[in-house]
């Protein structure tokens, strides 16, 4: 187990480093253009701002030296946004709890709905209830969360004012306000995932309930509840758990980008979307790297949890 964790974390570090190099090359080596033009405020910049940028990011040095300098800046918290956010590192750390609340809540709703509805499907397999839930799941999967978020916000928040229009209240300050600010974003983000999860869990459980050892367990007189919980669910949930792990880590660079913008939640997605819109290079590269670290770490943690649940995955070669 320890060697698995070490291998997995090593791979995470390599991936995050690769991401930082790609982001750097992508944005720093714009062909035919002096990076000091973009770093010095693009068309709004003057010769002074450009000279300042050249000095700050060492733009007259060779590229590897510039890379090292930028990375130091990103991790020391020296990188600022031109327009709004101030020090990027502290802005990112302030924004992280919002996004974790959003992703965590949406994940719980999606997985809870996925498992419970799939269990209903399996119990009533082939009957109308099974078909009805499957149809609903297909429809839910086909409504992109950007549409749900936009329509929820436009009608329930903006037009009819049932829910707060924007903003975020920390959980410690006021749990009820925290909940009402996050409820719509949670549902909007979770429904399409829940639709996919019902189908994935149902298919996986159906593969399991027909297994020989389930029949044996039933034959030896195990009651149905215990059978489902101890035998079917524990094995049938292994493929879905892998999906959840990937989706959970991807969420930090996925739906949070637009869900937070639409609902005005000041999380990392909001920060990223705003920065991307300004073409402000150092914070864009910085955010790409911060987010890459969050995504890579989240997926490493999930993989370790999955390996702890299913020892077969600890063998070498399955680390990804």
């Amino acid at each position: 187990m320890i060697s698995f964790v070490a291998r997995r974390l090593g791979w995470a570090v390599v991936t995050a480093w690769l991401a930082s190099v790609i982001a750097f090359v992508l944005f720093w080596t714009v062909p035919n253009v002096d990076p000091s033009y973009h770093l010095g405020g693009a068309e709004k910049g003057t010769n002074e701002t450009r000279a300042l940028a050249t000095e700050k990011y060492g733009l007259d040095e060779p590229l590897p030296a510039q890379y090292v300098r930028l990375m130091e800046g990103i991790f020391n918290g020296d990188v600022d946004c031109f327009y709004s956010c101030g020090s990027l590192r502290s802005a990112f750390i302030d924004a992280l709890p919002v996004t974790i609340s959003l992703v965590g809540g949406a994940g719980l709703i999606a997985i809870g709905l996925g498992i419970s509805l799939a269990l209903v499907c399996v119990r009533h397999r082939g009957q109308w209830l099974d078909r009805a839930i499957l149809t609903a799941a297909t429809v839910a999967y086909s409504i992109p969360s950007i549409v749900l978020a936009a329509v929820f916000w436009a009608f329930l928040s903006y037009k009819w004012m049932i829910f707060p229009e924007d903003g975020y209240v920390p959980l410690r300050e006021n749990p009820i306000q925290w909940f009402t600010h996050l409820l719509l974003p949670w549902i909007a983000a979770a429904l399409p995932f829940a639709g996919a999860y019902v189908q994935v869990v149902r298919a996986s459980l159906l593969d399991t309930v027909d297994a020989d050892w389930v029949r044996t367990a039933r034959a030896k007189g195990l009651d149905e509840k215990r059978l489902i919980r101890r035998h079917v669910l524990r094995n049938g949930l292994i493929p879905p758990v892998n999906v959840w792990g990937l989706d959970f880590s991807h969420a930090f660079g996925g739906f949070v980008l637009y869900v937070e913008v639409i609902f005005g939640l000041p999380g990392v997605g909001f920060l990223t979307a705003e920065t991307l819109g300004t073409f402000d290079l150092p914070p864009i590269v910085g955010l790409a790297i911060y987010l890459a670290i969050v995504v890579v770490l989240a997926s490493a943690i999930v993989d370790v949890i999955v390996a702890w649940l299913d020892p077969r995955l600890r063998r070498p070669g399955t680390a990804s």
Binding site: A196, V200, S204, A251, G253, L257, A273, L276
Partner: protein
């Protein structure tokens, strides 16, 4: 096994008496299964109708709505129930759905015909989706074949490459790439990729989804290469390239078809999110993303600007996912593609 390879064919040629009574091929069986699946056929019909409507956008604009997606009618009037009505009222509120040939779904804040814009937007999104799919397939299929067939070091390099792309959320990667190319495109003198050109989202979406196709295919190739017919072909002296193209690839087509349909739906959704974030299609050009962004921005003026493109997008995505599921039931009855094919997007 679906598909028929030359080695199998040459084995079957041996007893000539059998040739007359050939069993229906796997594709024919799949077609039969698909046809008897009423849900799948309904989704296929819906998909074809929607695609036809999107492709006919210029015809609709010219002959029915008598306008273009970019033409402003902000100061003009139209006739509703015989009464002339301002297209955009004095306080800036555009007319809602008229259910007539002109301004069928109403106008937007600039007095542009919303139905025409949605049809053009759907066409743009479909073009982007199909073109991106083409890029993904042309890169992913050879890589998957090479990784699965050669194994060893080739596989290690290619699979690690997939893992790196796979580790990053498609939307974040796409938004970063889209922003970078937009930035670069604006400045490369003679080969200028203009902002708003569809090439940017096509390239971005096409590259981002490579591992989504390549990983499951590689798994199938790994299993296929252990089968007897591959051994037989190798014994006959078939070279690797030929082996991949004419022995292994035919067995992959059913999976490729199912995956492509799923990916097309994902690509359309990703385009929407990218364009909403300003890293896809750029504003005056209609696409699902720009139309929805426009609708959110102008929701205080009129809600039909948001609802109409949202409903259109959901119809498109629903038809694609429904069709993908139907294709899977017909082509992949034993779930070789794994139960975990659907994931969040």
């Amino acid at each position: 096994m679906v598909g028929r390879s030359s080695a199998e064919a040459s084995v079957q040629r041996l007893p000539p008496a059998r040739a007359a009574k050939r069993a229906p091929g796997p594709w024919r069986l799949a077609l039969k299964g698909f046809r008897s699946d009423r849900t799948a056929v309904a989704f296929a019909v819906l998909f074809v109708l929607l695609c036809a409507a999107a492709l006919a956008a210029p015809l609709y604009a010219e002959h029915v709505a008598h306008t273009t997606p970019a033409a402003n009618h902000i100061t003009e009037r139209t006739t509703i129930d015989g009464k002339p009505t301002d297209i955009v009222s004095v306080d800036g509120i555009p007319i809602g759905p008229t259910w007539q040939s002109e301004f069928f779904l109403g106008a937007d804040e600039n007095g542009r015909d919303l139905m025409v814009r949605i049809l053009y937007g759907a066409r743009a999104s479909l073009q982007i989706g199909f073109a991106a799919l083409l890029i993904t397939l042309t890169i992913a299929i050879p890589l998957a074949l090479a990784a699965g067939y050669f194994r060893g070091r080739t596989d290690a390099v290619i699979s690690r490459l997939f893992d790196v792309i796979w580790s990053f959320p498609a939307l974040l990667l796409g938004a970063m790439l889209g922003t970078a190319i937009n930035l670069r495109g604006a400045d490369i003198g003679p080969i200028e990729i203009k902002g708003g050109t569809k090439l940017i989202p096509i390239l971005v979406i096409g590259l981002v989804y490579i591992p989504y196709i390549a990983r499951p295919l590689r798994g199938q190739v790994l299993a296929l290469r252990e089968q007897r017919f591959v051994e037989a072909a190798r014994a006959l002296g078939v070279r690797p390239i030929r082996m991949m193209a004419s022995e292994l690839l035919p067995h992959l087509w059913p999976s490729i078809l199912v995956l492509s349909m799923l990916l097309l739906a994902n690509a359309v959704v990703l385009e929407t999110a990218l364009s909403y974030l300003g890293a896809g299609v750029n504003p005056p050009e209609p696409s699902f993303g720009t139309l929805i962004a426009d609708g959110i921005e102008n929701v205080r003026i009129s809600t039909h600007l948001l609802l109409a493109p949202c409903v259109a997008l959901v119809l498109f995505v629903l038809s694609m996912s429904g069709l993908a599921e139907g294709l899977r039931r017909a082509l992949d009855p034993h779930r070789k593609l794994g139960v975990d094919l659907l994931r969040g997007r």
